[in-house]
Symmetry: C2
Subunit: 209 residues, 2 copies
C-alpha cells in the first residue's frame, strides 16, 4: 500500500520486492491522496483508508501486508484488525539498520525523521539531512540533485554514520541506494528493500504451513 498518484510509482515498490525477493505482490494505492503523507493531517486522513484497504486485501487472500511508507502510517491500527503479519517500511528499515549496532545517518526529502524510525533507532541516529534543494524525487534525477544527495551522505559519514538509512521511500523508487554504495562504499538501508526482506522471510514461512 502506498501514497502516490503516478501508477508507475504505485507499482514500483511491489515490483522491486517481487523481483528481488521472489514473492508475489499485489499493490494498492491509498485513494485521494496524490501527495501522499507529508504532515500530521495527511497522515490522520490516510490511516482509516490504510486500515480499510488492509482488511480488504486480507479478505482477498493476501497472507501478509506491507505498508510501504517510512512513517509506518496505520501499521499499528491495522495489526489490531487483521490476523496476517503487517510489515511497515519505516520500522523494517530501522530494525534492519539496528542489527549493525553502529551509528547511522538518516536521509530523506521531507521535514524530519518519522517518529517510528527515531524511536526504534534511538541513540544510533548520527544525524538527519534533507539534501540541499531536494524536495521531491525528481530533483534527485538531476546532476545537481544527485551531487547534493551524495554530499549529504558524506556529511552524515563525517558525523559518525557507518551506514545510511533512507527515511523516505522516494529514494527507493529511483534506486539511489546503489549510487551511495558505489560512491561511499558503505551499507545503505532502503525501506522498500528492508520491508521486502522481512516480508519475504515471513511470507515464505507461511507458504509452507
Amino acid at each position: 500500500m502506498y501514497t502516490a498518484n503516478d501508477s508507475n510509482v504505485v507499482q514500483s515498490h511491489g515490483k522491486i520486492i517481487q523481483e528481488r525477493f521472489d514473492v508475489p505482490v499485489r499493490s494498492k494505492c491509498i485513494p485521494d491522496q496524490p501527495l501522499g503523507i507529508y504532515d500530521d493531517e495527511s497522515e490522520k486522513a490516510a490511516i482509516p483508508k490504510i486500515v480499510e484497504m488492509g482488511v480488504q486485501l486480507e479478505q482477498e487472500g493476501c497472507r501478509l501486508l506491507i505498508v510501504s511508507c517510512a512513517a509506518d502510517p496505520g501499521v499499528e491500527a491495522l495489526r489490531s484488525r487483521v490476523s496476517v503479519p503487517v510489515i511497515g517500511g519505516g520500522s523494517a528499515a530501522s530494525l534492519v539498520a539496528r542489527s549493525l549496532g553502529e551509528p547511522v545517518g538518516l536521509m530523506g526529502i521531507t521535514e524530519g525523521v518519522p517518529p517510528v524510525m527515531s524511536s526504534l533507532l534511538e541513540d544510533l541516529v548520527a544525524g538527519y539531512i534533507r539534501p540541499d534543494g531536494v524536495t521531491n524525487t525528481t530533483d534527485l534525477l538531476t546532476d545537481a540533485g544527485r551531487e547534493a544527495a551524495l554530499e549529504a551522505a558524506r556529511t552524515l559519514v563525517s558525523q559518525g554514520a557507518k551506514a545510511i538509512v533512507f527515511a523516505c521511500t522516494g529514494l527507493s523508487t529511483i534506486a539511489f541506494a546503489d549510487v551511495i554504495r558505489k560512491e561511499l562504499h558503505i551499507p545503505v538501508i532502503d525501506p522498500v528493500d528492508a520491508e521486502g526482506l522481512l516480508a519475504a522471510n515471513y511470507y515464505k514461512q507461511l507458504e509452507g504451513i
Copy 2:
C-alpha cells in the same frame, strides 16, 4: 563463530546460512569451551577469544562477521575492533521478531532469556519457557522432548504470543522451527535464520561495491 565441541555442530550454522542465503561462510569455534556459554563466567571467558577470532577472520578477508549465539557474546567489543559489519544471533532474532510488532513467546533450553534479547524485544515478550525436562538439544530429538517443546510453544500462544522466538541456537541445529510452524501455524524466528537473513543482506551489498 560458535561455542560448541562437536565439529558437525560447529559447521552446521554456517551450512544452514550458506545454503539458505547463498553466501560463502567460513566457520570457527571458540577454543576450549566445549560446553559453550552457559553462565556469566563462561561468557566472560569467551569474549576476548571471540574478539581475537573476529579480528583474525577480518584479516583473512572476511567481509562480515556473525557471532552465532543468542547471547550476542562479544558482539559490541568486536564492533569496536573491526571495520566490517558484525551481526549477532540474539539481536538479529529480536529485531526480525520486532518487525511483526506483535507479542512473541521466547523458548530456550537454558535458564533465562539473554539480556540482549529482552532489551530489544521489551514489552513484546509474552513469556519465556524452557520445555519440561529439556536441558540440551538431544533431549528434543526424543518423542517426549519434542512433545514437551510443542507444549511449551502452545502455552506461549495461550499467553498471547503470535510468534515463537528461539532464545538459543541449539533449537536451530535440529531445525525445530519447522516442527512448530507445521503444528501451530505461526511464524517462528530462529536466530541462525535471522542472523543469516540480515548478514546475507549486507554481504550482498558489500559484494557489489
